[in-house]
Structure formats: structure tokens, C-alpha cells
């Protein structure tokens, strides 16, 4: 599949949500030290002395699983969520705390998670205030990303 590699590389240079040197092992590979950097919904990994990433992992629909203490893995998505050892990346942290931090950050690092959060907050606000957030409605942004896609029908705004 073709993709815009330059832009992805540029993205790897953006400020990261999290970055740390971790032990990393790709499928069937040896454990290596890598600088791992979380930017939006991608996890970039670099050789510790290089500016350009070795690779990137898209974090949509993947599973983040606790492995042995201080370690977690990221499994590529697949139909039926059958774990495929061919596409599992293993990470070793320097502490249990670091491991928890990373797992939590990775859990939230997907567009789909953000989308669900948007729906959640919008609904909660509506419960409390009794009205749909009118600004969002006008903006249209929340509607598009609220998971209703391009066939969404505009609802009338609530009371007030």
C-alpha cells in the first residue's frame, strides 16, 4: 500500500505525548533498545542514536496487553481479535510505573478512542444541562467525528 512516508517521518519529529527508551522486540526478533515516541495515533521507534525512525506502528484497533511485570505488548488488529504472534510487538519498561503509564497512554492514543470520548462528553453534558452543545452542532465538527459519518441527519437543537 502506498503511503506518504515523508509526512509520516515529519510527524515523528513532532512533540510527543510520551517518549522513552524502552526494550523493544518485534515479531520473532531480538530485544533491542529503542527510543519509542508516541505521536497522535502512531508509535514511532528509533535507534537510540538516530534522528529518523526505524519504523512506525499505527495504534488503531490494536490491543495493548500486559505481559510479565514491567512489560507490555502491542498486538496488531485482526478479525476476531485472534492474536497473531507474527504481528506482536513486545516492550520492556524500566519500572512497573512506567509500564502502567505507557499502557494508559497507548489505550488513549487512537482516533477511535477520541471519537468515543467525544460522544461520551457530549452526552454527559446533555444530561446535566439538558441541551445539546449548540456550538458543536453549528461547528459540525463533533457531528462528523461523533461516529455518525457522512449520512448524519442534523437534529434540531434542544430547549434553550
Amino acid at each position: 500500500m502506498r503511503y506518504n512516508e515523508k509526512e509520516l517521518q515529519a510527524l515523528s519529529r513532532q512533540p510527543a505525548e510520551m517518549a522513552a527508551e524502552l526494550g523493544m522486540r518485534g515479531p520473532k526478533k531480538v530485544l533491542k533498545r529503542r527510543l519509542v515516541k508516541l505521536v497522535v495515533n502512531f508509535l514511532f521507534y528509533f535507534r537510540t542514536d538516530e534522528a529518523e525512525p526505524v519504523g512506525a506502528l499505527l495504534l488503531e484497533r490494536c490491543r495493548v496487553i500486559r505481559e510479565e511485570p514491567g512489560a507490555f505488548s502491542i498486538s496488531a488488529p485482526s478479525p476476531g481479535f485472534i492474536e497473531d504472534p507474527e504481528r506482536k510487538y513486545h516492550f520492556e519498561c524500566s519500572s512497573e510505573e512506567q509500564c502502567q503509564e505507557w499502557m494508559e497512554a497507548l489505550r488513549r492514543a487512537s482516533y477511535e478512542f477520541m471519537r468515543r470520548s467525544l460522544i461520551f462528553y457530549r452526552n454527559e453534558i446533555r444530561k446535566v444541562t439538558g441541551k445539546v452543545c449548540a456550538g458543536l452542532q453549528r461547528a459540525g465538527a463533533g457531528l462528523q467525528v461523533a461516529g455518525v459519518g457522512c449520512r448524519w441527519q442534523r437534529q434540531s437543537s434542544g430547549p434553550g
Binding site: 503511503y3 512516508e5 496488531a76 488488529p77 497512554a105 467525544l118 446535566v128
Partner: protein, 244 residues
């Protein structure tokens, strides 16, 4: 490095879990826009009609609507979207910053389709969505708690909406440093006015603590770049809060 190959200062091809991309392209997550578009092959190449699917911050394109795997994907994070002068009608471009960055020229099949695409693509970044979610998160905390997480702004409510910051909303990126780490560049060439303006691409997120509440300074800076939508959003919410 293969022996005999010319010295190449460029990087070896970056690895990417392409199968995960392909999976995301065809899974049951919501689609943010879909339809046929003409895509220009290269600078002097012809247009190819492809089936495009926008999901999240990725624009996938397929041979046709029934294809199981995308031909390719344009990762949209950091792009700007603008109208272009082109031989094709209803053309628009997805542009990236950077010296050798490519511009993707696309053409829709109608004015309405073009406007729909430009709007959808302008809002497609993860950064943008994150900002919207944060805004809602703060609003929820405020409507719930009162004593919860305070909004990073003065408590006195002015009659005009959007009390902070006092800086004028920059319309042209020349007011902003066009750095990758600063506010995103909003093209000066295009005068794009199809109706309600799509928000400018949000600025790059500063490396602040991911879990803590937003500092006033970074949020204010983000806010000034973010656009009128968020200002209206907040103003709307504030004025609704004032009313009995």
C-alpha cells in the same frame, strides 16, 4: 547497504505495519466521508478515478468501491486543505509543510461533493479532535462540579463571547511562525470561502504533561490559533451558563 549501490544519504525505508493500516481501512469503525474522487498521479500525470474513504486522520483510496484493500493512504496529520486552480473542475489540494512535501491534487464530481470533502478533510486531524474533546471535558467538569477543574480563564463573565485571549484571531499565517512546532500554516494563497469556514489545522501540541490539566499559557496559545469555532463554542456555553 548493498555493495555497489550509490552512496545514499537518505534514510532506509521506514517500516510501517501496513497490514494494520489496511485493516483500519476496511474495519467497521465509522467512516467520516466516502466517495469517488479524481487523484492526480504526479505533477504531469493524468487523473485516476478512485474510491476514497476518510476515516480518522487517514484518507484511504481504493481501485473501486468494492475493493478489499486500499491502493494507498494519505496520512492527513498536519495537512492544510485548499482550493486550487486546475484544469479539472471542483479541484482541491491536500498540502503538507516541508520542502519536498508532496501536494495531493484531488477533484470531486460536484460542487457539493467538493465542499463536503474539503470540510471533512480540514477537520480530520487527531490534534483537532483532541482539542475538541478537551474542551468538552472541561465544560463537563465545570457544569458538574463548579468546584471541579476550573476553566483556564478569568471568572468574570463578559457580555461578549470568548473572553480570552485578547489577541485578534490570526487569519493569515504570516502572523504566526510557520514552524512545525508552532501554529500550523494556513495557506496564504487560497481564498477559500465556501460558507462557514473550516477551522484552521490546529497547532502542534506542545510537549506538556499529558495527564495534567492544561496550563493557562499553552491553552491560551492554542486557543488563539484554534479558530472562531471554539471561541463561539465557549461563548455559547458561557452565555447559557449565565442565564437562569
Amino acid at each position: 547497504m548493498a555493495p555497489g549501490s550509490p552512496p545514499d544519504p537518505a534514510i532506509a525505508a521506514m517500516k510501517l505495519n501496513e497490514r494494520s493500516l489496511a485493516f483500519y481501512a476496511t474495519c467497521d469503525a465509522p467512516v467520516d466521508n466516502a466517495g469517488f474522487l479524481y487523484k492526480k498521479g504526479g505533477r504531469h500525470a493524468a487523473y485516476h478515478r478512485r474510491w476514497f474513504v476518510l476515516r480518522g486522520n487517514m484518507l484511504f483510496y481504493f481501485e473501486d468501491a468494492a475493493s478489499r484493500e486500499p491502493v494507498g493512504v494519505i496520512i492527513l496529520e498536519g495537512c492544510t486543505v485548499e482550493l486550487v486552480e486546475a484544469a479539472e473542475e471542483f479541484a482541491f489540494a491536500v498540502r503538507f509543510a516541508g520542502t519536498r512535501a508532496r501536494t495531493y491534487v484531488l477533484a470531486a464530481e460536484s460542487q457539493a461533493a467538493m465542499e463536503g470533502w474539503v470540510k471533512a478533510l480540514s477537520r480530520a486531524s487527531f490534534d483537532y479532535l483532541r482539542l475538541v474533546v478537551r474542551e468538552l471535558e472541561q465544560q463537563l467538569a465545570a457544569v458538574r462540579g463548579g468546584g471541579g477543574m476550573a476553566l483556564p480563564q478569568p471568572q468574570s463573565l463578559p457580555s461578549a463571547p470568548a473572553p480570552v485571549p485578547a489577541l485578534p484571531l490570526p487569519r493569515r499565517p504570516s502572523a504566526l511562525p510557520p514552524k512545525e512546532n508552532g501554529c500550523a500554516v494556513w495557506s496564504t494563497e487560497a481564498t477559500f470561502r465556501p460558507g462557514p469556514e473550516p477551522p484552521p489545522p490546529p497547532p502542534r501540541r506542545r510537549a506538556s504533561a499529558p495527564h495534567g490539566p492544561l496550563d493557562v499559557a499553552p491553552f491560551a496559545r492554542l486557543h488563539e490559533c484554534y479558530g472562531q469555532e471554539i471561541r463561539a463554542l465557549r461563548g455559547q456555553w458561557l452565555s447559557s451558563r449565565v442565564q437562569p
